[in-house]
């Protein structure tokens, strides 16, 4: 058999599935861990290979069989998601590894990578539905009650199926609306976020992280909703996302349980990505795509640090000072740097995306920018408070060494390098995400033009406006003028309005 004849993408997708089957036949958890680790590492390598292969071939889509393909949007996301799974496994203490955990991790990797690389609406919907099973399995295996989780996920599944079935025949506003609500439930957007903090508290942190941090709902919104959504619908969704970012940021500040803190931080950050998608402007889409990547790295790294701490010290509270810095300084630095990256600290991977996001929001009004800055501020407060609670305080005495293991050390190095090198390589990433945003917006406009005949002149005017924006945006980047005419920039009325809003 000639292995080279296989596409790397196929191998990347099949390997986790094969791995899950192989692990199912292993009896000893330690062997299952080794086997799982091998499969995850090879999948990561193949994912990188697939992305590099795509970058080396100047085609829009490397395979176009309408099922799984790699394109500009997904090329960086495949290795990024594979890395998230690898880091999740690396952060798992060997003493806590079970065979079912390894199987769930490999299945989650298969589902997440398949969703990202799928171009078929029905496959995406099917995999999103299938992904519900994994956290339920985890909760069930730990003897936790499932009712709350299942209630939300049943609503998600029903709305998703209904929206998908209705949008197969015609892209009516109602159908797209159902899809949007379903994906907002999946993303944990206010007021439909109630399933996420309990999931983080009751399920294993690894499973919860993989379910939430992969942010597959972002891709689903791009593929299923964005091409057909009306402006009003996106605005309502965007407002809900923004409210979630601020609300969950504030809740993260007052948490006394580390898992609830992490859950609310994840909610706040992931809602920012969805908000940027729904703003549907070139710069906001660019910001969303960059933020998607930085969120995976930063919150994945933060989760890694929390899991490693929990493996040593058990359940962690934020209501007192634990003083773990002296025992595990590497984890303290990992926690801190990833936390800073999550809130867009300069020099880290999150800086440019946050700057782009807030900058792009200026066109929607000062109040929006203010809300985004407020969300970022609250998240930063939450992270610093958690850092002080976990790592400062009187050093506890232990009879055994709690130093990080070599595999954890490797994880810390990878995360730290990604956080800082990601910051350095941001310009090239932003450039490539620009192109993708341009394509997506064009697709969105095309979708709207198809419906234009039905919706009348008002929406046509909106399309004209957006097309003009796009046309202006496509022009080569001009050097900023030394100073624009002040009246041309903002009218006095607009400025007065901005001041009043502020």
């Amino acid at each position: 058999m000639n292995l080279l004849s296989l596409y790397l993408l196929d191998v990347t997708l099949i390997l986790p599935l094969v791995g899950a089957v192989v692990v199912a036949f292993i009896k000893a958890p330690a062997d299952a861990f080794r086997c799982c680790f091998g499969f995850v590492v090879v999948t990561f390598v193949c994912g990188c290979g697939a992305s590099l292969e795509y970058l080396s071939v100047p085609n829009d889509v490397i395979r176009n069989d309408d099922i799984f393909a790699i394109d500009n949007l997904t090329a960086p996301m495949i290795p990024m998601l594979a890395m998230l799974h690898l880091l999740t496994l690396m952060g798992t203490a060997k003493s806590h590894v079970t065979i079912s955990f390894c199987m769930r991790l490999l299945l989650a990797e298969f589902i997440n990578l398949s969703i990202v690389s799928s171009h078929s609406r029905s496959i995406i919907v099917g995999l999103l539905l299938f992904s519900i099973v994994l956290p339920a399995w985890d909760l069930f295996s730990r003897g936790m009650r499932l009712r709350g989780y299942l209630l939300y996920m049943t609503a998600f599944a029903l709305l998703l199926i209904a929206g998908w079935r209705m949008s197969e025949n015609s892209t009516s506003v109602f159908a797209v609306g159902l899809l949007l609500i379903a994906l907002l439930i999946r993303g944990g957007i206010l007021p439909l976020h109630g399933w996420q903090p309990p999931l983080f508290q009751r399920a294993s942190l690894g499973t919860s992280m993989l379910y939430v941090l992969s942010l597959v709902e972002v891709l689903a919104v791009i593929r299923l909703v964005l091409p057909h959504a009306s402006v009003g619908m996106l605005q309502v969704g965007g407002a809900a996302c923004l409210a979630t970012a601020v609300y969950c940021g504030a809740l993260a500040v007052v948490q006394n349980n580390v898992r609830r803190f992490y859950a609310h931080l994840c909610l706040s950050q992931t809602s920012l990505v969805l908000f940027a998608i729904m703003a549907a402007t070139p710069s906001s889409l660019t910001a969303a795509l960059c933020l998607w990547m930085s969120t995976i790295v930063s919150l994945g790294g933060l989760g890694f640090a929390i899991r490693s701490l929990e493996a040593r010290f058990g359940e962690l509270s934020l209501s007192n000072y634990h003083g773990h810095y002296n025992q595990v300084p590497g984890l303290a630095i990992c926690f801190f740097t990833t936390g800073l990256a999550a809130v867009g600290f300069p020099g880290t991977i999150g800086f440019i995306p946050m700057e782009l996001l807030i900058s792009s929001s200026m066109t929607q009004g000062l109040a929006i920018s203010l809300a985004l800055a407020l969300a970022a501020m609250l998240n930063a407060l939450a992270i610093m408070r958690a850092y002080f609670a976990l790592f400062t305080g009187r050093k506890p005495t232990t009879s055994v060494s709690l130093q990080v293991s070599p595999i954890e050390r490797a994880g810390i190095v990878i995360i730290t390098l990604l956080v800082f090198l990601g910051g350095w390589f941001s310009p090239s990433v932003v450039e490539s995400r620009h192109r993708v945003a341009e394509e997506l917006l064009q697709h969105h406009l095309n979708g709207r033009e198809v419906r234009d005949a039905d919706v009348g002149l008002m929406q046509a005017a909106e399309i004209d406006r957006r097309t003009q924006v796009l046309r202006r945006w496509r022009q080569p980047a001009p050097r900023p003028p030394f100073r624009r005419d002040l009246n041309e920039l903002v009218s006095p009325q607009e400025l007065l309005e901005g001041l009043l809003i502020l």
Binding site: A373, L381, A477
Partner: protein
């Protein structure tokens, strides 16, 4: 090498040297390699020497060649049609004065700290944070774009907060560090919004656009309008947070929890003046509206008055020095509001040097005082000010309580902002947990406790 290239090289070397030091610490962390005290001391001194010599050489060349303003373009970091982020430094009177001051004081503090913290368990941690602080200060001082300023500003804030929590085994340093972080984040958010508004107004975040084609402190007469007023307000909020102006003054005495060298350099000399430096750098914006100038004068004088009164009743030397420092910072801000530019700059430079030396002298001064008390057999009596004696008794008592409570600023912020915020969101969180428990059908189980949960 032409002198332009030489100037660019020297300017960049001033920033690159501290950046390299931070990089060395980072690589050491990645390799899990613990640097020796002596190695760290030598590295710090060498880096500061290189940086300082570069800055002074650049200043000398500019004086000889009579160049008032020399921008150094590092390059465009990100360019999109709607957003563009450029890193650019500038060599002018303001930036070179402040960067030389920074490096001189950093050299003094580094030399002092290598002995003062000898064999201290957090020696490495102190110098890592010190190097981040120095990089931040140099970056902010030489910045010619608001983004570059923001990067330096954030580094200074972060390292300051972590140094306040340096003695992390006690609960109060992290607690006070967190309070300072809250105030700093408000300032950071204001600066970030200002940066973005500046992009909207000018199409770029360059400070050059505020001064026209002239060197600082000249300003472009076209900078008039409500958008510039809003921009000025955001800059003032950012500066007020960083320089502990009213109503954000309460964090400054709390910041004295850190080791003496960090208190000296951060809150006596450099960090507390960074807000003032920002106001000087964006002074063309402040000139655009008389209301901004009036606000600055009022803010500065009120800060100065509150800090003076509070400083009079302090019982520990570091807090007294911090509040004395704030008194001067308030006056400098008022000078800026009055339209002076060189006066506040020289005031800042002189004050920073004086205060650093006072802070460094503080521990040994206490020793001297003890000797003095032993010699005279009692405590030396503090004299009341003339005007204090003329006040009615009730007013004296009220003023004493007002001063002791530091103008009730801390209490007000805690009572009207922090506590209601925590109360509201804790209640909301409890409601959410109750709802989640009800949906799960486990009302009898305590929702905050995840009993029988395995860690993974």
């Amino acid at each position: 090498m032409s002198f332009e290239n030489l100037l660019s090289f020297l300017g960049l070397l001033t920033v690159i040297a501290p950046a390299l030091l931070v990089m060395i610490f980072f690589v050491a962390f990645l390799w899990d390699y613990r640097l020796h005290e002596q190695t760290i001391g030598k590295m710090i001194q060498s880096v500061i020497a290189i940086s300082l010599i570069s800055a002074m050489a650049a200043a000398a060349i500019m004086v000889v060649r009579q160049i008032a303003h020399y921008p150094i373009e590092v390059g465009d970091w990100v360019i999109t049609p709607s957003y563009h982020l450029r890193f650019e430094f500038v060599l002018d009177f303001l930036s070179l004065s402040y960067v030389i001051l920074t490096l001189v004081l950093c050299a003094t503090i580094a030399a002092f700290s290598t002995r003062y913290l000898h064999h201290e368990s957090g020696y490495n941690r102190f110098f890592v944070l010190f190097s981040i602080f120095m990089l931040g200060m140099v970056t902010a001082a030489l910045s010619d774009t608001v983004e570059t300023m923001f990067a330096g500003w954030e580094m200074v804030g972060l390292s300051s907060v972590l140094l306040i929590a340096f003695f992390q085994e006690r609960p109060s340093p992290p607690r006070n560090g967190f309070r300072v972080w809250v105030v700093y984040r408000v300032g950071d958010a204001a600066l970030m919004l200002a940066a973005i508004l500046m992009h909207e107004i000018n199409g770029a975040g360059d400070f050059d656009h505020l001064t026209g084609n002239n060197a600082w402190p000249a300003h472009d007469p076209l900078l008039i309008g409500p958008h510039f007023t809003l921009l000025g307000v955001l800059f003032i909020v950012a500066a007020a947070c960083k320089s502990a102006l009213v109503p954000f003054s309460s964090w400054l005495p709390r910041a004295m929890e850190g080791p003496t060298p960090s208190s000296a350099i951060f809150y006596g000399a450099l960090s507390v003046h960074l807000g003032v430096f920002l106001l000087l750098r964006v002074s063309p914006v402040l000139d655009s509206s008389p209301w901004l100038s009036v606000a600055l004068v009022v803010l500065g004088l009120v800060t100065s008055a509150v800090a003076y009164l509070s400083g009079r009743v302090q019982s520990d030397i570091k807090s007294a020095l911090a509040l004395a420092s704030l008194t001067q910072v308030g006056l400098i801000v008022a000078e800026i509001g009055c339209g002076f530019r060189y006066l506040p700059l020289f005031h800042l430079l002189g004050h920073a040097c004086l205060r650093t030396l006072q802070f460094l002298r503080a521990p040994s001064l206490l020793h001297d005082h003890h000797q003095l008390e032993d010699a005279i057999g009692s405590r030396p009596r503090a004299k009341k000010a003339e005007w204090e004696q003329r006040l009615p008794k009730d007013a004296q008592v009220w003023l004493y309580r007002f001063s002791l409570e530091r103008g009730y600023l801390d209490n007000c912020l805690e009572k009207y902002i922090a506590r209601p915020f925590a109360k509201i969101f804790l209640r909301i969180d409890a409601m959410e947990q109750t709802l989640a428990a009800w949906l799960n059908g486990d009302q009898d189980e305590s929702t905050d406790q995840t009993t029988k949960r395995k860690p993974h």
